[in-house]
């Protein structure tokens, strides 16, 4: 009996380990880094991390729903490029609030456009969505390049008030950065959407089984538009946080965000098969990705080895996560 008891305890332990694998990895990473480089836990560094995960977090939160809904979005990079150059260029002529709103609208429209093309073609598989949004990303990037003539725009070109963007970029509310506050608000809103609204449930059902959902009267077309629009909106928010942080916007500012976002979502434990997942898991995934780069920087690991380590840890995390579904 005792042997069996220990066995089952081990089994329970192992399953917790697997379920919260990302947390375990984060803890290990934090412990290791703190041991070697005590400055890791300094308030300055914690502030750093808070600022650093802003843009990727926004983007990944949006991507979560696209993946829960059983689709994928590679157009994020293009959307970020476009939103960044459009928004920054409009601050001067339109004023900051209209520019902000136009930027968010642009992102949402890009997202909605993805879904419209996907729906109109009847492309209901992930692969079709993958390549279609890949093409659209190229198109959005090209529009951003055409719009900006390939040049970078800076804050000090803007004489009009840009206080909102400056606040988002580097301002703080108490000990929390504004970007962190925006993150908390978006997380709360998206969590409520995911857990408590009918549309959130519809998205999940769509991801679980499109045909069954449709035959039960779920409006899957609307769900698809909603997930891509959220994806686009959050990408726009990410773009705004991003260029506010660095105070400049170039038409290639979003390069790499789409794959990083998908990686973060999947590492967090949202499955690409659709139907399952959560924005909370995504938060953990992003935390791991951002912490990894922060830790490796502090440990003085070269950029090149960082990429190796990142790839290895992500591959390992995905592999382990997969083991638990087997």
């Amino acid at each position: 009996m005792t042997v069996q008891g220990t066995n089952s305890a081990i089994r329970v332990g192992a399953s917790i380990l697997r379920d919260y694998l990302v947390l375990v990895m984060i803890a290990a990473l934090v412990a290791l880094t703190a041991l070697i480089e005590p400055k890791f836990l300094s308030p300055e560094n914690l502030t750093n991390i808070m600022f650093q995960f802003g843009p990727l977090m926004m983007v990944a939160l949006g991507t979560t729903f696209v993946i829960i809904g059983g689709f994928i979005d590679l157009s994020i990079a293009g959307t970020i490029n476009l939103v960044a150059v459009v928004t920054i260029s409009l601050i001067q002529p339109m004023g900051q609030v209209p520019a902000l709103l136009t930027g968010l609208a642009t992102g949402t429209v890009c997202g909605a456009l993805n879904s419209v093309l996907i729906l109109s073609s009847g492309a209901l598989t992930q692969a079709e969505a993958l390549f279609m949004t890949f093409g659209l990303s190229t198109v959005y990037s090209a529009i951003a390049l055409l719009y900006s003539h390939g040049s970078t725009m800076h804050f000090w070109d803007i004489t009009a008030s840009k206080s909102i963007f400056q606040a988002i970029g580097s301002g703080s509310l108490g000990f929390l950065s504004w970007s962190f506050v925006i993150f908390l608000i978006s997380l709360a809103a998206l969590w409520v959407f995911q857990e408590m609204t009918a549309e959130g449930r519809a998205v999940r059902l769509t991801g679980g089984n499109k045909t069954a959902a449709r035959l039960a009267g779920v409006r899957i077309s609307r769900s698809i538009v909603v997930i891509y629009a959220i994806g686009g909106f959050m990408a726009a928010l990410g773009a705004i946080v991003l260029f506010s942080r660095v105070t400049t916007a170039s038409p290639v500012i979003g390069v790499g965000y789409e794959t990083n976002a998908i990686l973060a979502v999947v590492v967090g434990g949202t499955t690409l098969k659709g139907g399952k997942g959560s924005v909370l898991r995504t938060v953990m995934g992003v935390l791991l990705v951002v912490l990894m780069s922060n830790c490796l920087n502090l440990l003085g690991v070269s950029t090149y080895l960082q990429v190796v380590a990142e790839g290895a840890i992500l591959t390992f995390a995905i592999w382990l996560d997969n083991r638990k579904h087997m």
């Binding site: 519809a202 059902l205 679980g208 045909t211 449709r214 039960a216 009267g217 139907g275």
Partner: protein, 499 residues
Amino acid sequence: MDSGGSEVILSIKDVCKSFPGVKALDKVSIDVKRAMVHGIVGENGAGKSTLMKILSGVYEKDSGTVVFDGQQIEHTTPQQSMQRGLAIIYQELNLVNTMSVGENVLLGRFREMKGMRGTHAKARELLDRIGSKIGTTRLVSELSVSEKQMVEIAKALSFESKLIIMDEPSSSLTAEEMCELVKIIQQLKDQGISIIYISHKLDEIFEFCDNVSVMRDGRVIDTKPKSEFTRNELIMQMVGREIENEYPERPQRVGEVLMEVRSINTRKLHDVSFSLHKGEILGFVGLVGAGRTEIVRALFGADRVRGHQVLIEGKPTPILNPRDAIGAGFGFIPEDRKLQGLVLPFSVESNISMASFRKFTRLGFLRKSIEKEIGTRQVKALSVKTPSTKVPVVNLSGGNQQKCIVGRWLEISPSILIMDEPTKGIDVGAKYEIYMLMKDIAERGGAIILISSELPEVLNMSNRVLTVFEGRITGEFDPKVTSADKIMSAALGFDGECS
């Protein structure tokens, strides 16, 4: 050829198999004789499929012995058992849809057949042996269900099989196709091949099986020659209790016209018009592919069909998508439970509540307590066997899964419930419960459109049946007064019956 008759080709002794938490097989012993058709009956979950998978090498047994053709078999793979002469035709047809007939027949043996030409030649020869004229270069995805079955049989023959296991081959065959199958089984038997025939359908068991084994809860209850069984005895052994009737009485309160459908026209359907009365069960009889499913899908707005008219209580009601249909009072139980009906990894509760969002949302927000009530109510009302409403529906048995879908619609009390193959792959006990539900719905003033490939089911449950042949409605009958033969010939588009 060996003398046949008494010689044992397959001997299973004390085979056990456990899965985590379940004892799937408990000391199962069966002997199958050469050139005989051995029927195995049992409810779902009785262990039939597990046993077959052990024989074919998909699973490994925990203990016991299997002797096939004089050889004791320990570890085996699907490939090895096929080469030994033990072939299996699974319930879900086992063909690659994207490949040609010929390549499917000889799947995985391209080299052995010396290339594409050899493959097609050999496939032709095998198909000819069972008298099938299917072109070997056709894509499997273009074949009808019965044609696919023929391809499966040809595939089994390609290994010079001594024993062919057929796992519920008839579940998607129409009566005509069934005749074809019976003929082939007879032929195979004459060639000295033994057959294990797994089925729910007692008619078939009594029609052509020589010996019958009954399984229940992972055990073999009894094995006897068919002639020594009575129908009731068989059912009793399967279910473990006595069932007086297979079907309840028909609903009694047919009222005035509830719905009128005028001229559905698509590429497959031609001028389909009919009416439905309150309190009625209306059956559709026809072959798979005759257009039965297409009619109800068009009605429900599941397919893109335009130009027809639906009048509900005299009012024209446009239905462009399933949502409109639900709004107009329809419910729809699709033919494929797993692909079209359920979201398998999701909980029982959310599968039941899927169609009644309106009931538990306010201002776009879910009210989970109400959702839970809905789930609990339906689970109780339909006596769904599940430990909790939070369990993923995939863990339930087929019958209980089906009840979840029924519960989904009962919750919104539809005035018209469409049921496409509602009892496919469900065991006898659960079937009866579903029949009772149908009767109940009808008698409370609802109307049901029933589609089934099991003719007795349609004839015994419906107040009225419509026969469908090649996209047209070819007749309207009262099954109480018309003979089954007559209805069947209308559904087959010809007069006469199979020999």
